[in-house]
C-alpha cells in the first residue's frame, strides 16, 4: 500500500510565471517519457520480477517516480499561477484552458493525452529491464531538452535533480540486467 508524506522529494518554489515553460514541462507529467509512464511501467512490471532484488528495485523506483510526478505537477502549477486567460492564449495554451481551465491534465507538450501504449510489459525480466533502461535514457534526454529551454534557476535546479535521478535509475536497472544475464535469465 501507499502512504503519503506531506513533503516533496526536492523543494520547488518557482516565483516567476513562465507559461511557455509550463507548456513544455507538462510533457513530463503526461508524455511518453514522463513520470506517469515511468511509475506505471515499473509498477506493472514488479509483479513478474523473478527474484527478491528485482521485486524490490522495481517497487521502489516505481514509488519514487510517483513522487517525481508530483514534483513535475508542482512545477507546472507554480509556472501558471496567476496567469490571465489572455496570457494563456498568448502562450498557445488556449486549447489547454478551454478543456482543463487551470487544472492539471496528463498530456504531452502538444496536448496529446497520456496513453497506456507509452509503457510496455512483456512479462520477461530481461526484455522488461532493457525497456526500462531505454526509458530512463529517454527521460534523461527529455530533461536535458527542458533544461536547455529554461532560464530561471528556480526551474533549472529541480530539472537537474530530476535528470540525475534518471541517471541513477538507469544504472540500477543496468546492474540488475547484468546480474540476471549472468544468472542465465534470457
Amino acid at each position: 500500500m501507499f502512504k503519503y508524506d506531506k513533503k516533496l522529494q526536492y523543494p520547488i518554489d518557482i516565483k516567476n510565471k513562465d507559461l511557455k515553460m509550463a507548456k513544455y514541462i507538462i510533457t513530463q507529467f503526461g508524455g511518453s517519457n514522463g513520470e506517469l509512464s515511468a511509475s506505471l511501467r515499473y509498477f506493472s512490471q514488479k509483479f513478474s520480477m523473478p527474484t527478491e532484488e528485482g521485486k524490490a528495485l522495481l517497487n521502489d523506483i516505481a514509488t519514487e517516480e510517483l513522487s517525481h510526478q508530483e514534483m513535475v505537477a508542482t512545477m507546472v502549477n507554480q509556472l501558471i499561477s496567476g496567469a490571465s486567460v489572455k496570457e494563456l492564449e498568448n502562450a498557445g495554451l488556449s486549447g489547454q484552458y478551454a478543456e482543463h481551465g487551470y487544472g492539471l491534465f496528463p498530456n504531452d507538450v502538444n496536448g496529446v493525452p497520456w496513453n497506456a501504449s507509452y509503457i510496455a510489459n512483456v512479462g520477461d525480466p530481461i526484455a522488461n529491464l532493457m525497456e526500462d533502461m531505454a526509458a530512463e535514457q529517454k527521460a534523461r534526454v527529455t530533461y536535458e531538452h527542458l533544461i536547455d529551454l529554461a532560464k530561471d534557476e528556480d526551474v533549472i535546479q529541480p530539472l537537474l535533480f530530476l535528470r540525475q535521478r534518471e541517471v541513477v535509475h538507469f544504472n540500477r536497472f543496468k546492474e540488475l540486467y547484468e546480474k540476471y544475464t549472468k544468472e542465465g535469465y534470457k
Binding site: 502512504k3 503519503y4 508524506d5 506531506k6 513533503k7 516533496l8 522529494q9 526536492y10 523543494p11 520547488i12 518554489d13 518557482i14 516565483k15 527478491e52 532484488e53 524490490a56 528495485l57 521502489d60 523506483i61 519514487e64 508530483e70 505537477a73 508542482t74 502549477n77 507554480q78 499561477s81 536535458e144 533544461i147 534557476e153 533549472i156 535546479q157 537537474l160 535533480f161 530530476l162 535528470r163 540525475q164 535521478r165 541517471v167 541513477v168 535509475h169 544504472n171 540500477r172 546492474e175 540488475l176 546480474k179
Partner: protein
C-alpha cells in the same frame, strides 16, 4: 555544507559529516563488506543537491552546477534536513535492493534512518505533521496549509 545556516542556529546540530566515509572507514572492515569499489564512491554530504549520492555514477549536464538550497527560517532548515536524509535513505535503498549483502552500506543506511527518525520526531513536536500517523496533537492538523505543491514556502 549543503545548506547554509545562520550563526545563531542552535535548534539542532545535525552534522552530515557524521555520516562521512572517513568515519565509516573507521568501522571494522573485517566486520563489514562493501560492494562499491571504494568508499569515496559515496558522497553523503553533497548527494542531495546533486540528486545522486553515488559519485561513481554521477553524471553532470554540460556546465550546469547544482546549487545549495538556501533556507532562512528554523522550520525550513529542519524540513530541508529531513528531506535530505529521506533522499539519502531512498538512494541507499535502491542500491541495497540489488546489493543486499553490502553490510557496510547497510550500516550507513541504519545510521541515516535513526537520525531521520529523531529529526522527524522533533519536527512534529515543534511544527507540523508530515505523516498522518503522527497527528496526535489536541486538534486535527493534517489538513493545514501549506501543502507541498503550494510554493511560497522557500525563500
Amino acid at each position: 555544507m549543503l545548506f547554509e545556516f545562520n550563526d545563531n542556529d542552535d535548534l539542532y546540530d545535525l552534522d552530515l559529516s557524521y555520516f562521512n566515509l572517513d568515519k565509516m572507514d573507521k568501522l571494522d572492515n573485517n566486520k563489514y563488506s562493501m560492494n562499491l569499489k571504494n568508499s569515496n564512491d559515496l558522497d553523503l554530504e553533497n548527494g542531495y543537491f546533486l540528486g545522486n549520492i553515488f559519485s561513481n555514477i554521477y553524471d553532470p549536464y554540460k556546465n550546469y552546477k547544482p546549487k545549495k538550497i538556501n533556507s532562512y527560517s528554523e522550520q525550513q532548515k529542519m524540513l530541508l534536513k529531513i528531506q535530505e536524509l529521506d533522499f539519502i535513505e531512498n538512494d541507499l535503498a535502491l542500491y541495497l535492493d540489488i546489493h543486499p549483502n553490502d553490510t557496510k552500506v547497510f550500516e550507513i543506511f541504519k545510521r541515516v534512518n535513526k537520525e531521520l527518525e529523531n529529526l522527524k520526531k522533533k519536527y512534529y513536536e515543534k511544527y507540523e505533521v508530515l505523516e498522518l500517523i503522527c497527528d496526535n496533537k489536541s486538534k486535527y492538523t493534517w489538513i493545514d496549509d501549506p501543502w507541498p505543491w503550494d510554493g511560497g514556502y522557500y525563500v
